[in-house]
Symmetry: C2
Subunit: 320 residues, 2 copies
Amino acid sequence: MSITVVGSVALDTVYTPFGQAQDALGGSASYFATAASLYDDVNLVGVVGEDFPQEHLSFLRTRSAGLGSLQVVPGKTFRWGGRYAPDMNTRETLYTELGVFAEFQPSLPVAYGRAEVVFLANIHPALQLDVLQQTEGGGAKLRALDTMNLWIETTHDALTDVLRKVDVVMIAEEEARQYADTPNLRTAARTILELGPKILVIKQGPYGSLLMGADGSYFVAPSYPIEEVRDPTGAGDAFAGGFLGYLATRLRSGHELAPADYQRGLVHGNILGSFACEDFSVGKLKEVTAADIASRYQKCVSFTHFEAAWSAGKSTVATA
Amino acid sequence: MSITVVGSVALDTVYTPFGQAQDALGGSASYFATAASLYDDVNLVGVVGEDFPQEHLSFLRTRSAGLGSLQVVPGKTFRWGGRYAPDMNTRETLYTELGVFAEFQPSLPVAYGRAEVVFLANIHPALQLDVLQQTEGGGAKLRALDTMNLWIETTHDALTDVLRKVDVVMIAEEEARQYADTPNLRTAARTILELGPKILVIKQGPYGSLLMGADGSYFVAPSYPIEEVRDPTGAGDAFAGGFLGYLATRLRSGHELAPADYQRGLVHGNILGSFACEDFSVGKLKEVTAADIASRYQKCVSFTHFEAAWSAGKSTVATA
């Protein structure tokens, strides 16, 4: 049993009010694998250049069942630079140098195509579709994707094609509205769910995440509060790692996924996202233990659960 | 037992993508009283001009134990006009005509000063302080206030004075940051709580609300999802009405307020806020029944509670 992730592996330079990181390990697949590997074996499919530091390769090897599909090719690794505003809610992209990522053509070993869970991180929808086709017949039980405003704006039709073929869509709130061209989030959710996915996960940044099911189900998990957001880069991918990682453990133990599983998955997603924000790159994520996750999980219970019964007051209310 | 509210009673003209309302009943005290009166008797302290429609007076009479302190004086009623952006998240003020509200000097009948709960809605901090002084020795068990950016910017010191003297502060997230001059919400919360309040309620608009206690307690109640926000005006005051109204029922039954009470109160606040958004003015709020509240309360349980136990997965996680 395992999770296959296809996404970017990058060298990030990030400035925040708390400091900076230079050419640190970044990319959606790196964050996802670091988080999801706490739950299950991860197969990482990506590409880096010959300049990719050995130290990062060694680390990724500890977080994936093998790096058989992390291609190391002539050229430069994908580099991204960004600077966060003092409120940490907006960021400016300083540069994007695609390097070898521009020509990335994911090719899955047969074993990777047999993973129970497939995560198509935020890459070109045509590549996401291609990877899905490579896993056809492989028996994947859960296929999930993430996307971003760039693909909504430039490859709307290709994105729609791949949205039709996955089980779970994970998308930021403003991007869901953008895709469906409506300010109403519930209308946007219906637009996406009508394409075929069973589950829509709306990422709300500092507020947490929502889960909406094609069956009309609805669940909210507020974010885990941390003292200080030092660098939110990769939080969405770590979220995906916690969410799908937890679901992989359920599939592994032979369960059909039930609403309660998705709900707990959402909480795990928020927790892994919170760890991602506490340091630059995967600095905090790579030190997280199962006990750390368990501790935050119990705290999430404590700050969201309330007494289901309430004694009524005035006569009008008391008649309820 | 009762709740005394001091705030504005206004005639609002509001434009939203869903329609408009002309000179409709508005003002913080109107929304609050309409919501809180579902839980307990409300004493409304405010002022209107001689142009205030009889129909609104009649309605307010049904929602307050008496209108002994709604002064009707020569002049014009406070009027406000606003237009919401298509996404409903920002609004433009078209006009603010204070009318008789400019000279408002709240004067509480002795009976009102004996209320168990006092709510200082969003008015000048000096007036809030004056009302607090009028209730001194009256035995109020819970004194709460709301405020806004205007007072933070123009009367910061007076606001600080009154913050020192209340039990509960209810404030919008961005205004908490603004008051404490920090982008970090937890730092802002500590700044406010260190002044003396026991409870800080952070209103997060469409995301719901947070509760932070001086004892370090923390609780989150996501908003109740409604199909369509037709007019969010007054949602914060209806929220306060649900929150404090519920707490009043607990005090009435002889309880000391416990964390579980504040948590349930937050849920009631969100529910009453959701009703406020479903129609212009108090259009929906005035039709709400106890059964409607009870139904939404149970739905809030269903979309926030999850299994507190989670079966672990991979060996690292299983050691938790």
